[in-house]
Amino acid sequence: MFTTLKKYRFLLSRLVKRDFIQKYKKTTLGVLWSIMSPLCEFFVLVLVFKNIFGRDTPHYTTYVITGVLCYNFYTNATTQGMESLLSNGAIMNKIKLPTWLFPLSKNLSATLNFLITCVVLTVFMLIDNVAFTWNLLLLPFPVITMFFINFGASLILSSLFIFFKDTLYFYHIFNRLLYYCCAIFYTVERFPEAARGLLKINPVYDFIVYFRTIVIDGAVPSLDLHLWLCGYAAVMMLIGVIVYNCNKNRFIFYL
């Protein structure tokens, strides 16, 4: 696998570049949109919920923006990953190459995109007077585990999507549900213990909590949270690789 990666690293860089070119090719603002769209979403949320949840939540703006950014990271990566195999069908039909490179490249560009949007986060931390601590250096850890969670999910979804176009619609609904299960704009303190435990099953929620613990509280997240994230990454990758490998030889008939 690593030799393949090495051989195709040029392809990966081209694909990531192409993603960026294609995404913003006819827009005036270009890459700025990757910052603008979560920003707009964030403003709406703050506008609507500031008075409901914001009163007793310290640093509510930072709270919301971490949620929005982290959630968008997950949906962007997986939705684009899902479509990556089918949209490159023409190439897969003609050239022999490891097809998992397509979901991988989409995930790489989504991650890059996420890192760009983190600039916004920094700005809001400054505005919101959040203390910068050395703990911020821990942030690469959740991003890396989240990358693998996304990649695993992309492998599953993209394989399914080749066989069933319905996957797209189901996934949109799923994402909408997920959105409300991530505590993006509300706080969980008022929830009973059991409900909070349920939320923890959601890896995106864990990811967001990790971010918030470091960014807002300036504390080191618990060992539990580290293990959970690692576990999710491992499980998602495992399922993803199995689903992809079982089906990869059949893709060609469905393209």
Binding site: F10, R14, Q22, A90, K94, L97, D166, I252, F253
Partner: protein
């Protein structure tokens, strides 16, 4: 080295690729899932060493393209093994795989990357590729702005100039206008001399006579013969030509080498059993239109063509059609499979053929195709469209895209209704 050891390839066909979740569940519940495997290639073996040029011959549906797809590794064989050493570069179907919105340089880089080459390797060769394709002045154009001829030149140049170890070519794609045809032939020779293995699918045999030292003959997926050296290959080509003549008289004839050898001296009898063809062809055409499954439709289309070419009435219609309009050179657009039928006929009439091939794999399964880029062929007087469903649906759009009159297979051979009369802008 390329080694194919008792290779059999199964192709899936049937009700599955357009099936949504609902249909899938229904089919599962009612046990109505009609997926049939077709053995497109059955027990084929050959071995190629450095510098070999293997021609692959056979009539439509012989499994040529499927076999080559398997050699590239896209379609793994169900039984047997295929081993290839080194980089395999295939030029089987044209059109897609390039990015419409990137310029030529970026597209070359992209294609090189897809083939697994490094940045340095491709960047070093980009200028050379552009120059060979005679596209240096267009290098900043977007791919979608190119004409079809330019596209095929670009694809061909990339394939030949990345010095592949194994090169797989479809004859139709290696042509352009006259001067480029010569150049591409020379380039292929150079590639062979540099030790590459070439696999070549062709519809007429002249290139193979010039270059082939191995020859594989397929028929209905079965291996009829594999010629191991040049003498054998030439002999086999001769037998193949003889077989094609026999087949023109009787479409059901299957190749039998011994019989063909014995027929060597005898003149071929022309005993075409001319049944009332128009009726059966028209019926056939109607049935094809009603077929709901694309795969079935395609097969019916092929047998319809068989019928057309073999019946003197239809051939006469074509001759008259071309004569009336004083046509000496046509361009051909659509599925390459049809070339098997058309080229011998047109050659007999001494009519030149250009190809406007675009996306043949998809035209096989799509209902409408729009030709463009005919400025590449200044001498073309008529475009023959061979897509199975070229009808009124597209007729309205076409004249905007090309100045050259066009006609469908239906109009050319005089079947179906009159809707496909050529349009002159």
């Amino acid at each position: 080295m390329v080694l194919a050891d008792h290779v059999s390839i199964r192709y899936l066909a049937g009700d599955f690729s357009d099936v949504g979740l609902k249909e899938w569940v229904i089919q599962r519940v009612h046990h109505e899932r009609r997926i049939e495997g077709i053995w497109a290639v059955n027990d084929v073996s050959f071995q190629l060493e450095k510098g070999d040029f293997m021609g692959v011959i056979g009539v439509n549906g012989a499994g040529k393209s499927t076999l080559l797809k398997s050699v590239t590794g896209i379609l793994p064989p169900k039984k047997g093994t295929i081993r290839t050493d080194g980089n395999v570069v295939a030029l089987l179907e044209l059109g897609t795989g390039f990015d419409n919105d990137l310029n030529l340089r970026e597209n070359i880089l992209m294609r090189g990357a897809l083939l697994g080459y490094s940045r340095e390797f491709i960047e070093e060769r980009t200028d050379e590729i552009l120059e060979f394709a005679e596209l240096t002045e267009f290098q900043w154009y977007k791919y979608k702005q190119l004409s079809s001829g330019m596209r095929s030149r670009l694809a061909f140049s990339i394939c030949c100039l990345v010095s592949p170890d194994v090169l797989i070519l479809d004859e139709v794609l290696s042509v352009g206008d006259g001067s480029f045809r010569k150049k591409s032939g020379d380039k292929m020779l150079e590639v062979i001399q540099n030790g590459a293995i070439t696999l070549f699918v062709g519809h007429n045999t002249s290139t193979m006579k010039r270059l082939a030292n191995k020859l594989l003959w397929l028929d209905h997926g079965n291996q009829i013969a594999f010629a191991q050296n040049r003498e054998e290959a030439l002999e086999l080509l001769e037998l193949y030509e003889r077989f094609l003549k026999l087949r023109a008289a009787d479409p059901k004839v299957r190749p039998d080498l011994e019989e063909l050898r014995q027929k060597k001296k005898k003149p071929v009898k022309k005993t075409a059993s001319a049944k009332p063809a128009t009726v059966s062809a028209a019926k056939h055409e109607q049935a094809m239109r009603n077929a709901h499954n694309k795969e079935v439709r395609y097969r019916m289309y092929l047998s319809l063509l068989d019928e057309l070419v073999l019946h003197p009435e239809h051939v006469a219609h074509m001759q008259q059609y071309l004569k009336e309009r004083e046509i000496r050179r046509v361009a051909f657009y659509g599925d390459t499979a049809v070339l098997d039928f058309l080229i011998p006929l047109l050659e007999r009439e001494q009519i030149g053929v250009d190809y406007i091939v675009e996306n043949t794999a998809e035209s096989r399964h799509c209902d409408t195709v729009i030709p463009r880029g005919t400025q590449e062929f200044p001498e073309t007087q008529l475009i023959i469209i061979s897509d199975m469903f070229f009808t009124d649906r597209i007729a309205g759009k076409l004249p905007d895209l090309t100045q050259i009159p066009f006609c469908s297979i239906h109009a050319l051979f005089g079947i179906g209704e009159d809707r496909d009369e050529p349009t002159q802008k």
